[in-house]
């Protein structure tokens, strides 16, 4: 898929709390095909402290209306600046970047935590189009840190794990009663320790597992080699050869604390 640089217009902004918001962005023409797990590099306008673009997963795609939606967690200056943007503002994006999820498996589990929930909505929809209804397990410290809940309901069996028990079962996603059921494919995106725990479980049980990494990036297109993961075949660019990797390629990374 050819990569593009495009000015999108914010057509809808939803603020969930101080931490999470979504931006629905209108493409000026026809949106190209976007695979689940691909991401965009967003230019952050109007903040001199921010020079590089920020990588953000594609949360949702609406091909009828040529829009994409981003789910963003405020963690620093770039995401803070983006959170102050308004409907009608333009955002320049380089996209679609990286390789997406394989969409394989029959008994499928999705595990998301924090902002790592973002790519799982488009993934759920793409799996549904293939007739797959996954179990969708979302985790966070507390209820308010799982911003997207109802949106997932049409696409699979949704369940939650929170550390304080404010939503769903109390504990980590890996302690959830649905986690250790019988699956043949797990897809996961979220905090690194969570992804490692999920991947370790999958490798132990012989379950196919795909993880979506969020390494720090400069270019997002495979030119700078800043974003590498120490894979079993040496350093690989997360932006170009990922962000989605099969866990079998990452045993070094998974076992490295």
């Amino acid at each position: 898929m050819r990569k593009q640089i495009t000015d999108f217009t914010i057509v809808e902004k939803q603020v969930f709390n101080e931490t999470y918001f979504t931006l629905k962005l209108q493409h000026p023409g026809i949106l190209p095909e976007i695979k689940a797990g691909q991401f965009v590099e967003v230019e952050v306008p109007g903040n001199k402290q921010v020079v590089l673009r920020r990588p953000i997963s594609i949360h949702d795609v609406d091909t009828d209306n040529n829009t994409i939606t981003l789910l963003i967690q405020v963690v620093g200056k770039g995401t803070k600046t983006l959170s102050n943007m308004k409907e009608g503002d333009t955002i320049n994006m380089v996209y679609p970047l990286g390789h997406g999820f394989s969409l394989e498996g029959e008994k499928v589990l999705l595990v998301g935590g924090g902002a790592g929930i973002a790519p799982l909505l488009h993934l759920s929809k793409c799996l549904n189009l293939k007739g797959i209804h996954p179990v969708i397990l979302l985790g966070g410290r507390t209820k308010s840190l799982i911003p997207i809940q109802k949106e997932f309901e049409p696409y699979g069996q949704v369940c939650f794990a929170t550390e304080d028990g404010s939503l769903g079962e109390k504990g980590l996603v890996t302690q959830h009663s649905m986690f250790s059921r019988d699956y043949d494919h797990i897809y996961t995106c979220g905090p690194t320790p969570m992804m490692k725990a999920v991947a370790r479980h999958a490798l132990d049980k012989g379950i196919e597992c795909e993880v979506s990494l969020e390494n720090m990036m400069a270019c997002g297109i495979g030119a700078c080699l800043c974003c590498v993961v120490d894979s079993d075949q040496g350093h690989k660019c997360v932006c170009k050869e990922g962000p989605v990797f099969n866990a079998k390629q990452l045993t070094n990374w998974i076992n490295n604390k």
Partner: protein, 299 residues
């Protein structure tokens, strides 16, 4: 209007891309017409494949970034056998940035590249701050710089550009030393040695603690050094460091650079080089300049 010359190389325009920031060019083919570039300096290439430094390798800093990639590359053999064949038919000057840790390694790589018809020049990187052994070591000492250049000169017969580090007391001394040793051109600057600390995590951002600073933050230092060197040597100077627009490129040209390279700005806008070329044309028209060489070194 924009044509310039570096030794035997004819450049369609003075705008090239900086090593390590433009991959092998292919990464940018979706965004720009690579054939419009004056030249492409491909990734630093070494005698053997290199893994580079551990992650994390980058940190954003005010108006710039630090990197510690550490010369990750496929090695000269794979470059010659595979990469070269993918890019050799581009209609621009493809220049290989040759890096290494010993004189033997530089010579091995240079002589293998010498045999490639479509590579008219190499850029000898004696200035990388991100490798423990060699690299910048050669570029910070005039005698060692001269020695590596004169050895490479014996095995390399086309245009030999030497890339200089700004991490020295007198860049002019190094430039003169490599000129006397047989360099056909010098390019400057490589990255400035820097460091940044994540105070929340109480540790450096980079796995290597220190790294190379690039981007708009370094531009005034780079322009100053280009101006000093351009006045001190007879060989053509290529200027780089923090260029993001045509006006930045013009600063370097006026300071005495015959051509420029664009690095970090490619990450911010993958199509920036085309805008810079368009901007230079527009500037020449607006100022009634028929040949860009008229303004080179006017300061």
């Amino acid at each position: 209007m924009l044509q310039t010359k570096i030794h035997n190389l004819i450049l369609k325009n003075p705008v090239m891309t900086a090593s390590g920031t433009f991959g092998y060019g292919e990464e940018f083919a979706d965004f720009i017409d690579l054939n419009r570039l004056g030249g492409i300096i491909v990734k630093g290439t070494t005698g053997e494949r290199r893994q580079g430094n551990p992650y994390p390798r980058m940190a954003e800093t005010p108006s710039g970034m630090l990197n510690a990639v550490g010369l990750q590359n496929v090695g000269v053999e794979t470059f010659c056998n595979e990469v070269y064949h993918r890019i050799k038919d581009l209609d621009t000057n493809i220049i290989v940035n040759v890096s290494g840790s010993s004189i033997e390694e530089y010579c091995k790589t240079a002589s293998m590249i010498d045999a490639l018809d479509r590579i008219p020049a190499i850029e000898l990187n004696i200035s990388c701050p991100n490798v423990k052994k060699g690299g910048m070591g050669f570029g910070t000492n005039p005698d060692m710089a001269a020695q590596v250049v004169s050895e490479v000169r014996k095995v390399y017969h086309k245009t030999l550009i030497v890339k200089l580090t700004p991490n020295v007391t007198s860049v002019v001394d190094i430039a003169k030393a490599v000129e006397n040793a047989g360099a056909d051109s010098v390019s400057l600057i490589n990255t400035l040695l820097g460091m940044a600390i994540d105070v929340e995590k109480q540790r450096p951002y980079l796995s290597t603690i220190t790294g190379g600073l690039s981007g708009p933050a370094v531009k005034p230092v780079a322009v100053r050094m280009v101006w000093q060197v351009a006045h001190a040597v007879k060989i053509p100077v290529i200027g780089l460091g923090g260029i993001t627009c045509a006006a930045d490129a013009l600063e370097f040209l006026m300071a005495g650079a015959k051509a420029v390279q664009v690095g970090t700005a490619n990450f911010i806008d993958p199509a920036v080089t085309m805008k810079i070329i368009d901007g230079l044309e527009e500037y020449c028209r607006r100022h009634g300049i028929s040949d860009i060489n008229e303004i080179i070194g006017i300061i």
